[in-house]
């Protein structure tokens, strides 16, 4: 038996000893000397510019190339490395703001999977070998690019002209082609200047102008002003919720493909109930009269009171602005309504393109994607250059793009990453990223600012053996015998001369001023609208009958059309609507889910006549009950480590050989059947709750309250 007793005397004694020990231990100030000498390297500069101070960032102006909008950016450069992009306040398109795709450009620039050397048939080669082969075999080559503008376009055009005028296919699956064609047909201007900030009401029909349509950053900037007092009202009509739809005061869901009918229904109410005149467009008047609310209901499931609400709002809030990109028919109705409501001249003004027409943008379409495949299959294309687009990924499977490319004798890819298309090409020329190359770009915004944005390298090449797109185009053009280029050693020299000619001055001071501002300002052609008289309005019956499911897709500001699936930041940036990360999902309405027997996390197989895809459901009420929406961007088969998940809905779409003039891939849904596979795995999302559970988190007040308060903030 232990004899030790804890009595008070012992206890205090022990306590004292213990604390003395502790005090002894802690008596010294932290004094462990780190022995880091000689561990880290420090590289001094050789001969820096006098304004380059290590530890202080220098900001250079350039242009973002993460999407066709071409926003101006400022890059923060420290110790010879670009670290962050911010918007260029001097660029009138984005005025100092950029979106998350622009912010993620750094990741693409420093990405570990960039192509570092030229490849011939998959084998590493030198530039001389590759360019020599290209010069030899690419006579009369066609060009397959994304949207393009500026002097890069000039070089491509020169190359084509020298080689016999082969076609320049410009492919953008996410585009404004319906709007452009309709605007041209009705107003005589494909790209009118939009003034969202001046509008009191905006109606968007399949035109996700806050997300991916047109110039999203410019639109968002204007939207910020639109919502300031006096507050504008935003309305949307679409089959599935887009980012623009999510921000709408009035959101109306319509059966996929019925948008034109719905908009005509709005026109019906405007003409009958509100007496808005369509006097000078008798065909349009007839179409509106014919499209009764009952007919609209049958075609789209949109009720009369919803149409009335939209029409009433447009009447009460003038000037308004109706934007539509759902399809060509819808866009035409939108422009007719704009004309009827007197928006033309107020929120829609004539564009003022720069007089240097050779630099003007070539905006892309999916029509060019389809026609390229058809021309290739017909043997009309002997060789092709592919740059800034991934046709093998973007093309529907029925189009057999791989087969089409196989028929092309010689294929050259100019790319910074390996993707599904580069692996099909004979020669791969490694492009520098947009942050280390020269270029000029003309934004598509219809404004009269007359700006040509300069893209300048923000640092030396990350990889020694890549070359800027402009440099590659210059070398290829020279190799094809294009005149007048011999004096230019590199694209910088070419641009220096070309831009000086553009602004009419070759003074060093003026050039430096352009580089500082990131833009050159040149003359514009002011024009007027040329309203084309009567406009025949039509609509196609939506392919999907009531009760059948239509698969639709959309692009999101993030992965866009899939080009950013290799950037982890954008994969991990939760989708704006579903909040899903890293994997695809299929959006369906709870009623649809009940019908097919799917619950949260269930995998379903979506089968169409063109193939099938399997992915998990996301069930919410922001979609029409006859629609199933799988946003595009994932489903890559060869785009690197970070782009392994998901499915590609584009593969299922119809590449109809019908009227490609008026059928955009993204806007034509395809009929599908859907069946749960039996597998279930929780879809990874930022948040699994869609409800605030009565808490005041994201609170809402009514517009009345806002108006009474004259604006609040």
């Amino acid at each position: 038996m232990s004899k030790t007793k804890i009595d008070r005397r012992n206890f205090l004694k022990v306590l004292g000893l213990g604390s003395a020990g502790a005090a002894l231990a802690g008596c010294d100030m932290p004094s462990y000397v780190t022995s880091d000498e000689g561990k880290e390297n420090i590289y001094s500069y050789l001969a820096p510019e006098e304004y380059v101070i290590p530890g202080i960032g220098v900001w250079y102006a350039s242009t973002c190339q993460q999407c066709p909008a071409s926003c101006g950016v400022h890059g923060r450069v420290r110790e010879g490395r670009v670290l962050k992009l911010e918007g260029n306040p001097d660029a009138s398109v984005n005025k100092g703001k950029i979106c998350q795709m622009g912010q993620a450009a750094i990741q693409g620039h420093f990405h570990p999977e960039r192509i570092e050397n030229p490849l011939i048939n998959g084998q590493k080669a030198t530039w001389d070998e590759a360019l020599a082969l290209v010069a030899k075999k690419s006579g009369g080559a066609a060009w397959l690019t994304g949207a393009m503008s500026g002097h890069q376009r000039v070089l491509i055009d020169a190359h084509r002209t020298a080689g016999g005028n082969a076609r320049h296919y410009a492919v953008e699956v996410v585009n404004a082609r319906p709007w452009e064609d309709a605007s041209l047909a009705t107003l005589g201007d494909a790209n009118p200047n939009l003034h969202i900030d001046k509008a009191r009401a905006v109606l968007a029909v399949g035109a996700d102008f806050l997300g991916t349509w047109g110039n999203p950053v410019k639109s968002m900037r204007d939207y910020g002003n639109f919502r300031s007092a006096p507050r504008g009202v935003l309305m949307s009509i679409e089959p599935a919720m887009s980012m623009t739809g999510a921000n709408s005061d009035i959101w109306v869901t319509a059966r996929p493909g019925s948008e034109a009918a719905v908009l005509m229904g709005v026109g019906h109410i405007l003409t009958t109930k509100h007496g808005v005149s369509v006097a000078d467009m008798p065909s349009a008047a007839l179409a509106f009269a014919d499209m009764t609310p009952t007919k609209v209901l049958g075609l789209s499931d949109v009720k009369e009171e919803q149409l009335a609400k939209i029409a009433d709002t447009l009447m009460a809030n003038s000037p308004s602005l109706i934007l539509a990109n759902a399809n060509h028919d819808t866009a035409k109705v939108a422009q007719v309504l704009n004309m009827m409501l007197g928006n033309v001249g107020q929120t829609l003004t004539p564009s003022a393109a720069i007089t240097a027409e050779a630099l003007l943008p070539v905006t892309g379409s999916s029509k060019d994607l389809v026609e390229f495949a058809m021309d290739a299959k017909a043997g009309k294309i002997s060789s092709v250059f592919i740059s800034g687009t991934n046709p093998v990924f973007l093309a529907p499977s029925k189009l057999d793009m791989a087969g089409a490319l196989a028929k092309v004798g010689f294929k050259v890819a100019i790319a910074d990453f390996h993707d599904e298309t580069t692996t099909a090409c004979d020669v791969v020329l490694p492009a520098s990223s947009a942050l280390e190359a020269w270029g000029t770009h003309v934004p598509v915004d219809g404004s009269d600012a007359g700006e040509v944005y300069i893209q300048q390298p923000l640092m030396e090449n990350v990889h020694a053996n890549t070359r800027g797109l402009g440099d590659i185009l210059l070398a290829v053009a020279k190799g094809a015998g294009v005149d007048g280029l011999a004096e230019f050693e590199d694209y910088y020299g070419y641009l220096r001369t070309a831009v000086s000619a553009l602004i009419g001055s070759d003074l060093e001071g003026d050039w430096n001023s352009i580089l500082q501002k990131g833009k050159a300002v040149t003359a514009v052609n002011h024009s007027n609208f040329n309203a084309g008289g009567d406009v025949a309005l039509g609509f196609s019956e939506p392919a999907a009958k009531a009760g059948t499911l239509t698969l639709i897709t959309s692009a999101r500001q993030g992965l866009f059309d899939g080009r950013h699936a290799n950037l982890p930041w954008l994969q991990e940036a939760p989708d704006q609507i579903s909040k899903a990360v890293w994997d695809s999902w299929a959006e369906i309405h709870p009623k649809t889910a009940a019908k097919i027997g799917a619950k949260d996390g269930d995998y379903i197989t979506i089968t169409s006549a063109n193939g099938s895809i399997t992915t998990r459901v996301f069930i919410y009420k922001g979609i029409h009950q006859d629609a199933i929406s799988v946003p595009m961007g994932r489903g890559h088969t060869n785009y690197g480590l970070y782009a392994k998940n998901g499915v590609n809905p584009l593969s299922l779409l119809d590449a109809s050989s019908g009227d490609r003039q008026t059928t955009e891939l993204l806007n034509s849904g395809v009929s599908v059947t859907v069946k749960p596979t039996g597998d279930n795995r929780h879809l990874v999302r930022l948040m699994d709750v869609d409800s605030q559970h009565g808490r005041k988190l994201a609170a809402t007040i009514t517009a009345d309250q806002f108006d009474r308060n004259q604006g609040g903030a």
Partner: protein, 214 residues
């Protein structure tokens, strides 16, 4: 009658407590002594340089000899030739880093001076090849310490009304020791947090953690 059940031993609380305290103290104190022997910090040391309006710790430290790509001698340049620290480490007054001088600065003299010396020839060869020497950091602090040279120079040199810029070596010596006495740079001050905080306390510098740890 059942045998006496053995008494449960009570846990020897007092012994355990004493034992833990003693072992703990031994470990902590022993570690400090051991660390000191590895990297001896000498309290006191060289006489304080003449920086008016400043009161700072004078501990020194015997740093490792670090081999640099070019065997540059501070003793020759700063000591014998009397070149001011800020002539080469010019960024110290404008930036958080003092900076190793760009090679152009060296070549400013050494295109003509001492061109027969092997180290100069090494440097010239790097210069003509466009190669930056891979210097090894000597006065290094951990990455989570964000030190700003500019602020310290402002306090002790530039905004110090009794201080003349030609005496900047005295200010630099507060943390870098007397560079006039070494050849290749050596760490001569402990640069521990205790060293920094003591000086901050004495000279009323900021005490906010996030001024240096962000």
């Amino acid at each position: 009658m059942p045998a006496d059940r053995p008494q449960r031993k009570t846990f020897p609380w007092i012994r355990a407590f004493i034992g833990t305290a003693v072992v703990g103290a031994l470990i902590v104190v022993g570690a400090q002594i051991f660390e000191q022997q590895l990297h001896p910090v000498k309290p006191g040391g060289t006489p304080p340089p003449r920086v008016p309006n400043a009161d700072f710790p004078t501990d020194t430290f015997d740093g490792k000899d670090v081999t640099q790509p070019i065997n540059y001698s501070h003793k020759l340049h700063a000591g014998d030739l009397g070149i001011n620290c800020l002539y080469c480490h010019t960024y110290a007054r404008r930036s958080k880093v003092a900076g190793i001088p760009p090679t152009a600065k060296c070549m400013g003299c050494h295109t003509v001076v001492g061109t027969e010396k092997p180290e100069i020839q090494k440097l010239t060869a790097m210069w003509s090849k466009g190669q930056s020497p891979a210097w090894k950091k000597v006065n290094d602090v951990p990455d989570f310490v964000h030190f700003s040279h500019e602020r310290h120079l402002q306090r002790f040199l530039l905004n110090n009304k009794d201080m003349n810029i030609k005496d900047s070596p005295d200010v630099c010596a507060m943390c870098h020791g007397d560079m006039n006495t070494v050849g290749v740079a050596k760490k001569m001050k402990p640069l521990t947090m205790g060293f920094c905080v003591t000086c901050h306390e004495k000279n009323k510098g900021p005490a906010d953690c996030t001024r240096c740890h962000k």
